[in-house]
């Protein structure tokens, strides 16, 4: 039975899983969660995902939730069939540098990029006004952290080393959204040329373009 992803194709964490599936050429089926009608809070759904979130994975009966776990599972299982997006687990240093890079994304990028998206997209969707002061604070914090990215990416091509990993791709959904919301911090080559080079590289990958076309459908 083919690997199933239960998620919402236009939402960030489902998109991270989708881009990894596409890069690794893993066969899959996407099942859309009826989030508007709170399917993810029903007892049946909570049996699969105890925190009532999406996405979750069902690989022939093996249930897994948490995007980072799903992504690593897919990248490891399908390592040979497409782009190698996680290091060989027997390579200790490469593995912890990947962990470090994933952690950098989670602590130093996503909270701020996510905050901007929440204010400028999430709030209007729920009928309230964005707090532009909060947005400015998130932008300031994000740009502060991007100075760290600039230093790292000045020494190596990608966040975990010289090879692309899922840790880089994990930035794509929120990074793309903030660009659409007029925050150009990732794209601006005059202020952080290494970040801009890296962003240009990962955001133009065909697999990501395919994910965006699914999400728009």
């Amino acid at each position: 039975m083919v690997l199933k992803i239960h998620g919402v194709p236009k939402f960030a964490y489902t998109q991270i899983v989708l881009v990894v599936l596409k890069e690794t050429n893993a066969p899959y089926e996407l099942i859309t969660v009826d989030w508007i009608n709170k399917e993810h809070k029903t007892p049946a759904y909570l049996e699969k995902h105890p925190f009532g979130q999406y996405p979750y994975m069902d690989d022939d009966g093996f249930i897994l939730h948490e995007t980072s776990a799903i992504v690593k599972y897919i990248a490891t299982k399908y390592r040979a069939s497409g782009t190698a997006l996680a290091p060989d687990p027997s390579n200790l240093k490469a593995t912890v540098l990947f962990d470090q890079a994933w952690s950098v994304q989670a602590s130093d990028f996503s909270p701020y990029a996510g905050g901007i998206v929440m204010e400028r997209l999430g709030k209007p969707f729920h009928g309230s006004q964005p707090d532009e002061q909060a947005v400015q604070q998130h932008i300031t914090n994000l740009e502060n952290k991007l100075n760290g990215y600039e230093a790292i990416l000045g020494k190596q091509s990608y966040l975990a080393g010289d090879n692309l990993t899922a840790a880089d791709l994990a930035h794509l959904p929120l990074g793309t959204l903030i660009g659409e919301l007029d925050v150009k911090s990732l794209e601006d080559p005059t202020r952080r040329p290494n970040v801009a080079r890296w962003w240009n590289d990962i955001s133009n990958r065909p697999a990501w373009k395919e994910v965006l076309s699914i999400s728009d459908a």
């Binding site: 909570l46 105890p50 925190f51 009532g52 093996f62 897994l64 939730h65 948490e66 995007t67 980072s68 776990a69 799903i70 690593k72 599972y73 490891t76 299982k77 687990p89 027997s90 200790l92 240093k93 593995t95 912890v96 540098l97 962990d99 470090q100 952690s103 950098v104 989670a106 602590s107 130093d108 909270p111 952290k145 100075n147 760290g148 990215y149 230093a151 790292i152």
Partner: protein
């Protein structure tokens, strides 16, 4: 050259790393960073940790930051001489369930736990600033919404990744302990409300390696 831990003697993240060093019986040298004097923001420090945060480690020239990446490195490198704190990397499914548990801690516990700890303990004790009780209430509410999920998982298995303790369980301790012991909030130690979670909490916080570092370095 001995393993070096650069941080602050009472910092929660520094103690997370020290705990795992003790679990794996790794001799180390603790180097105190002058946080009050902003040593972690100097150009020299930023060469080691580009985000200007503590702690970082130097294992005979191999520099690593992000406490969870550091702890995984320690638990892997010294795997033979302490408890096995994560599954065999060649076991894809067990590893995925471990990654799932790691993400649960990071996504569903850490943010609220850190915010509560900062307000209830760090601000009054170290910064001589008043606690924002409204913020505490909001963050406690957020955390409590997740405890049902923890209780559901821990009612079916002994620890978050399965029947054996892993790093994912232990990562909760450093901030969780602070909230309960110094912040005076029962939360996940409430045996009546969350019996399985309370059982789990008591188990992990009575480990000798934690008791050895809980008072600071």
């Amino acid at each position: 050259m001995v393993f070096k831990l650069f941080g602050n003697a009472r910092s929660r993240p520094t103690l997370r790393v020290a705990h795992i060093l003790k679990e794996m019986q790794v001799p180390f040298e603790f180097v105190a960073i002058d946080v009050q004097g902003n040593e972690h923001k100097t150009a020299e420090y930023l060469k080691k940790q580009p985000f200007g945060q503590i702690p970082y480690i130097d294992d005979d020239g191999f520099v690593l930051f992000e406490t969870r990446a550091i702890c995984k490195y320690i638990a892997t490198k010294w795997r033979g001489q302490g408890p096995a704190l994560f599954p065999d990397p060649s076991d894809l499914k067990a590893t995925a369930l471990f990654d799932q548990a790691l993400s649960i801690e990071y996504s569903n516990f850490d943010n609220a736990a850190v915010n509560i700890a900062v307000e209830k303990v760090y601000k009054p004790k170290y910064l001589n600033k008043p606690t924002d009780e409204a913020l505490v209430a909001e963050q406690v509410s957020k955390l409590e919404a997740k405890l049902e999920g923890y209780e559901a998982i821990l009612s079916k298995q002994k620890y978050l990744a399965g029947e054996y303790v892993t790093l994912a369980d232990l990562y909760h301790i450093t901030f969780g302990f602070y909230i309960v012991e110094e912040g005076g909030l029962m939360l996940f130690t409430d045996e009546a409300k969350y019996p399985n979670m309370a059982r789990w909490w008591k188990d992990i916080t009575s480990r000798p390696a934690w008791l050895a570092v809980k008072g600071g370095l």
